[in-house]
Symmetry: C2
Subunit: 567 residues, 2 copies
């Protein structure tokens, strides 16, 4: 027997106006409809309705994790520093980590993710290949001290996450655990009613499966991704690669210098010469661990410094400043060209393929050069995909122009391999009696973030609009106001409750029917049942929250229909 | 259909020996049976079996809180400092509070309890008397930086708690919310199978109901309590009162001084005079906010400094030191008596009632006085219950000798009144259109502590021994080892699982039957079903974990019986 939630007793307060600090839909609507309240920047209170939705998401995640043989555990959130020092992450996380000391001055952190501790748990608990494989998971509060917590519960500093970890003795075992998670995640997001894409999170034209992200397309998303309208390719924009094709430069004349006064930028140069920016080669100078490096990309493209940083990590990438040119006559600001740049390492985008010909700086003030051919007039030390991906860039699998969209990252699956097992010497006794190093996977779902993503994807101009499995109730019964109508509403709610339907009933006194209808739309329960003007006849109005379709039916029919929907 | 948990796939490791650092039964057994592991001092990892038990306790608590109309919410654990500064608790908690700063240097704390934040939530959400009463609860991770985290999960620094808060406009409403919680707590502890006592946590001969504790008697407990073998009186020892009876001193002669050289202690004095210690009056000197105060108790009793401190809070109580006697010729160390102690405030235990006659110090070195009568020869400025309670002290309700026992505090209910509403100006519009100050109650259950208490109370010399509702499974099926036995065990487990019985089946290969039996006893599932030597006939052994009773029955009968037990 499901609970009947009477709104007269529910702690709920709806707001007509968006909160002043809200920029995203989920923030506006979850606050206005009384699901959450902000306690501090990026730190949220889940009110009764919000807690129900969070619990529904949690249940789905738990059921599907159990179905793949995951074993639920609960690790602490307050963690000793030492394991994270061993892995190097105590420092690597930088300001993202909440750090604290206990009364004795010992260092602790609030866990952002638990690879280190899980590795230690398995090292303690498992000693033989017979004890593996194992998939462990927890649904737990996590902490990240975001620089700009924003977008409501989408990017909080305290948030709920499901994290799981697989432990295997073989690469095949890891691949299997990875596929189990991949399939479970697809089922989870389907049950949640989240429109989602599985995209490659690693470079590689073939879309390697060592790491994939689950993205929920939404304008409020902080991730961008591409997908191909022709084939199944989809990737985080940071993972998109460009397949280089060498060009035939045999007909290209020799390098020729051109006087190009006052053309230190691509725009001024292209204007001056009357050529498209794409004919020019842009050379960005950066410092990599303090050493000056030039990065070459076509003049019409932007360098993605984030991508460059990830390629070169753990080295630090910084932009050059005026001081870096002091004592370097070889570096002529605004007129750098890769030819003759002997003392500088040269990194280029694959578009600067062997045989391609460019207009670029001549390393002299006010002078450029044309017919500068890659591989003939200069050498590329390292090719890296470093340009910002744009719509219509070619699909690395089939060449079709890609689409670019914004999305919310709702899941991530990752074959870690032996990184943490190496750090903590996690071995088990193998079948041959010798120690075998364990290989690991790590898999996450943002549980509170999934609530935000659902709100973003399903809301309309009237308010929230939950899929049934996630909604705080199955049916929202509205008593229009008169005593007879309230009586009927409570009666039908009781009948539905007895039949196992989760019911909310708006029996508030002194609230106008108009406010009740508006609130019902804002709160977003999938079916709305109104005990209104035909209550005396036992006729109610059944409305679908999403489509707005409404019909007048008898109470018995309404109960029968809504109960049947459950099956 | 319940899950069948195969031990061959469960991450479990049992230990034959107690962990070196374990002092209490729950610590020893929960670690040995593979329920928990220590991650840091007072910080625990709940392994798969432990997580199941924790979840079972959580479910019972949630169901009973829902049944009294509690609305579940989830507040953050990472909390801004300001509300706790407003209440004064940011400082009052002292070292018990985990404090930290975010990347911008703003101060935060890890919540030990949430009165402040709940008050703010209700202030935001409720504006009229119509919005009340409200009971809000959460089941959440709490933090206390204990000086000596010990006793396993009994006293952790990170732990699970159910905390709830009631909000009412009237004292009668608060009393009702308090009674609802009291009844719900009794149902919860009954369902958990915890032997428990509800004891008064406040002084007062009538056992005031403004605060009561729920105690689970156990030798490992850190609380002591008394109960009366004759009536229903029970109280925390700190709350026990003594009902004073004035004595008739009309026949007592005048005060007489006695030379009592070298008798600065009660023992030496009683010895010297050949009287019982109870005939003497002990006067302890303490400093209360720096002022010297004398505390008089019968010579055979100890002063409970904790009790004294609570009575006098927020004043600070310290013991005097040698320096405090400098320049105070009126204070003769070891020979203090209340008569003639003019400049010193005199607090006494109610046993020093008007008309009682004592041997006490004469305020001269080496001299005592007898026939010193309270109310005749000295005045008591304030009577306070300050002695350590002992077995056979009279029950304040019926006079019968009390019993004293150790226990674990598993719950606490408390009528807070308007303390926090005053701090945060929590008013709602009353029925007469004027603001009404809200009154609150606060109620806690230690969820992880309840697991420890259950382990302490139910374990026997073979291991853990859970009540069915809390056990990680209903039935533990043991396959003795041969292929046929394993086949039968898995078959019967599947049948039980299909019938909704929660089953664990020990299908581990290469583990001897003896180890499996020992493990089953250690793990403590209430029923053990062994597929052993009569497996070929379809006969299994059904054993009750608690009583040890065993019988051989057919598989069908076993399934029928165990399924019927569920109903």
């Amino acid at each position: 027997m499901a609970q009947v939630q009477r709104m007269s007793r529910l702690m709920i307060k709806t707001l007509r106006d968006d909160p002043a600090d809200a920029e995203t839909l989920n923030h506006k609507l979850l606050v206005r409809a009384g699901y959450v309240r902000r306690t501090a920047a990026g730190i949220w209170t889940w009110l009764p309705l919000g807690k129900k939705v969070l619990e529904n998401v949690t249940r789905v995640v738990r059921e599907e994790m159990d179905a793949i043989g995951g074993q639920e555990v609960l690790l602490p959130a307050l963690l000793p520093k030492e394991p994270y020092e061993a892995s190097g992450r105590y420092d690597e996380y930088g300001d993202l980590l909440f750090r604290l000391q206990d009364r004795k001055g010992a260092d602790y952190l609030l866990g952002p993710t638990h690879e280190e501790i899980f590795t230690q748990v398995v090292k303690d608990m498992c000693s033989s290949y017979k004890d593996l494989p194992v998939i462990l998971y927890q649904i737990q509060t996590k902490y990240r001290d975001e620089a700009r917590p924003r977008a409501g519960v989408l990017r909080g500093r305290e948030f709920q996450m499901k994290d799981s970890y697989s432990f295997d003795t073989t690469d095949e075992g890891l691949a299997e655990a990875y596929q189990l998670h991949r399939a479970a995640y697809i089922r989870i997001f389907e049950r949640l009613g989240l429109d989602h894409r599985v995209v490659s999170a690693v470079s590689g034209a073939m879309g390697g499966s060592a790491s994939e992200e689950f993205l929920a397309p939404a304008p409020a998303g902080e991730d961008t991704f591409v997908d191909c309208p022709n084939c199944d390719y989809a990737a985080n924009t940071e993972a998109v690669t460009f397949v280089a094709t060498a060009a035939d430069a045999s007909a290209v004349p020799a390098v020729e210098e051109l006087d190009t006064p006052d053309t230190p930028t691509i725009e001024t140069l292209a204007d001056f010469l009357g050529v498209p920016a794409s004919a020019t080669l842009k050379n960005l100078l950066v410092k990599v661990d303090g050493e000056i490096v030039a990065v070459g990309v076509p003049g019409d493209r932007e360098v993605d410094l984030g991508k460059l940083g990830e390629h070169l990590a753990p080295a630090e990438v910084e932009l050059v400043t005026a001081e870096d040119f002091v004592g370097r006559p070889d570096l002529v600001r605004g007129y750098v060209g890769p030819q003759g740049l002997e003392k500088v390492r040269y990194i280029a985008d694959p578009r600067v393929a062997a045989g391609t010909s460019w207009i670029t700086g001549a390393n002299k003030e006010g002078v450029h050069a044309r017919n500068v051919v890659a591989g003939r007039d200069f050498e590329v030390d390292q090719y890296l995909d470093v340009v910002v991906v744009e719509a219509d860039d070619p699909c690395p699998k089939c060449g079709t122009g890609l689409r670019v969209d914004r999305a919310i990252e709702i899941g991530h699956i990752f074959q870690l391999g032996r990184k943490y097992a190496d750090i903590f010497s996690l071995d088990v006794l193998g079948q041959q009696g010798k120690p075998v190093r364990v290989t690991m996977g790590s898999y996450g779902i943002g549980v509170s973030r999934a609530v935000a993503a659902l709100a973003e994807q399903t809301a309309d101009d009237k308010g929230l609009c939950w899929p049934r499995e996630i909604a705080p109730a199955d049916v929202h019964v509205v008593a229009a106001g008169k005593a007879l109508q309230t009586e009927l509403a409570l009666d039908v709610a009781a009948k539905l409750g007895d039949a196992g339907v989760r019911v909310m009933v708006d029996d508030r006194a002194g609230v106008s029917p108009g406010v009740k209808f508006t609130d019902a739309e804002l709160i977003g329960v999938p079916k709305i049942l109104v005990a209104g003007r035909r209550s005396a006849e036992g006729v109610v109005e059944l409305k679908d929250r999403r489509t707005g379709e409404r019909e007048e039916i008898t109470v018995d029919e309404a109960v029968a229909r809504l109960t049947a929907d459950l099956a």
